[in-house]
Symmetry: C2
Subunit: 441 residues, 2 copies
Amino acid sequence: MSDFRADGAAALEWAARYLEGVRQLPVLSRVEPGAVRAALPAAPPDKPEPFAAVLQDLDDVLLPGITHWNHPRFFAYFAISGSEPGILAELLAATLNVNAMLWRTSPAATELEELVLDWVAQLMGLPDGLHGHIEDTASTSTLAALAAARELRPGGVVLCSDQAHSSVEKAARILGLEARKVAVDDEFRMRPDALAEALEDAQVGAVVATVGTTSTTSVDPVPEIADLAEQAGAWLHVDAAYAGSAMICEELRWALEGCERADSVVVNPHKWLFTPVDCSCLFSRRPEVLRRAFSLVPEYLRSDEDATNLMDYGPALGRRFRALKLWAVIRCYGRSGLQERIREHVRLAQLFASWVEAEPGWEVVAPVPFSVVCFRREASDEENQAIVERANATGEVFFSPTVLRDRIVLRLAVGNLRTTAEDVERAWAVLREAAADGSSE
Amino acid sequence: MSDFRADGAAALEWAARYLEGVRQLPVLSRVEPGAVRAALPAAPPDKPEPFAAVLQDLDDVLLPGITHWNHPRFFAYFAISGSEPGILAELLAATLNVNAMLWRTSPAATELEELVLDWVAQLMGLPDGLHGHIEDTASTSTLAALAAARELRPGGVVLCSDQAHSSVEKAARILGLEARKVAVDDEFRMRPDALAEALEDAQVGAVVATVGTTSTTSVDPVPEIADLAEQAGAWLHVDAAYAGSAMICEELRWALEGCERADSVVVNPHKWLFTPVDCSCLFSRRPEVLRRAFSLVPEYLRSDEDATNLMDYGPALGRRFRALKLWAVIRCYGRSGLQERIREHVRLAQLFASWVEAEPGWEVVAPVPFSVVCFRREASDEENQAIVERANATGEVFFSPTVLRDRIVLRLAVGNLRTTAEDVERAWAVLREAAADGSSE
């Protein structure tokens, strides 16, 4: 145990220095494919090595191969934060190493999961009485929701907008269901008339509405969608993986309208609630249907308590103690602290959008309801692609482009706790320099 | 960051003391359903709380509700260990907080995952050239394997023995496939003649052989099964979730015979390789079929490097940096250290079995190839059930029974790094006392 204390102190110091210094590192890794692997022994060691050797290789070999998701100028995909209370809670969860498959295999893990999910529902303003549990990712949460939908209408088609996340199509494929895309309006929101038409064309098992789509964070018109899904007898699943966290701020809660009628809702605290990956919350008002889809109890897992066994609600049997980090984060920030940071991220995105709007030769190409800005240089796709690549190559920023209406679009996603107005300013400067470099070529 | 250092030191000290003191805690939690939740605030805090408050509640409220999987006298299910290097690596992984969905989103995470899986294959004596990646649990690994099988033969039946893990049936249900059970022999191994018959009765897409079944750790005759699966054109998946780790010891490698012919093999280092949950390794010699089942690349995830994107091999898009803990564990124990500890666990199980064999009124009811002993009092099911309950109620041990040939069977699973001969002796004493208490009632 003396080793554990010494090794642990070294690991902790490594973590502290990393978080202090990450701002100085190139955001996007610059290694060539295969370089990291080639720098490590091809065979496992025969004899034990000290933990210090692991830390040394982490610095020397792995770190150059890391793309720094915890960097304040990571603006790609959805920018995220592994916050300090969440990081330390993962240390504690690994120490306890419980498997919360059954209530009895760690009552506290099951009950804390149910309690903290209730906290998240309260923070978001979701209705009372939903059942909530944690999956690793929204891919799995959506898979679970659509599996439940399939229980009620086997073989039913799954409908979502053409801006929905790829995990909907992937889940449908796994479940052997057909996913069909519904057209969106000018602001990338599912068109109710197109949905109505699609509902007429097929026996539909589930409709997936998105609150905060991946490319533009557009919000589908959930009230109209809920009406149509209800008339068709289809399960309504709401993918609020990203924007769900923003509902903690009352002024953003308009986006949640209609979600109280959803059969299931997914929200990922590892996206915008400062919880380390992995933490995806699946809420449902029909948990009995989830149980019908997933409960399967062999003799060696029998238990007699009158309590919830969370293995009955999703595809995996083994369940690590993910509630601990979410609980730690919510407590250490508090509702007010979470609101403050989400508001700041939204403010920074609006600020950035205002700069783009004001700059000749650039345009914002979608509304900015939350912390993501879609924009482009008024130029060819090739030039926009080149701007991103030149900007990313500076090491100062990391952007990931998307495609809207068949054109390449740049995208700034704010979500890291350490991101400041200066970081966003710097990002804008880097982009304009990258554009100027292209013009002068 | 001063807070992070101070809070981190407190968390680390909590972890060190927990690991030092876990032996003194009751293994199976004694709380009543609902008690943990009732002791915590029903609403989230408005204001931030110090991390110290989290640690205080962890001690006061959660700890009594924990069933201690890291306890040396946890003998239930499969006993596991979250070892120190693995625990500290989880702290580091949460600090980096990368998502290894694409190579570019952290080249080091993808390349370390592929390298470490190659190390595991070498340690186990699996053939060269397998593709390996990490899933959260064997449930997901088996789901991925059967989804690949379905690509080759849509709608094909899945065959496994009646001793196979429930995750096979669960995966089949998710995939919309029918799972059928094949009978076992006197030693709980799949009967090749019964398999041949089942293969004649249906168009079979996949056969799942188990190396180390959950109840008795029996080993299916993989060479014969591989012959039959090959003739039938069915995918062969080997579930070695538990026993795969034992293949590190040459004298146990007989159990791997035939596995070189499998299309996919799952091994869980979080079961018997001292890695904290979650860490399930899926090996395949047909990764292109896994890709066909799972690859789905929307515009916002496009990347141009000639490198592996691990999101293409399984159901979830988001992938945390699980390779780090497995790498840390293998390095800090080394092949020799891992062998030594697995051998000790096997020795302890054999020792326990010899005591049961020698004791009048008790019997060992299945062979003991690894570290699990199935045994029973020569008495009614009710009495055996009562013995387990009385033993578990002492707080000194935790056993989970199973059912074999319609009779309740007791089960001792050794797998924790801190388990000593004295612990196993104490377990036997507790069981005999529990039996005596019943006789005197």
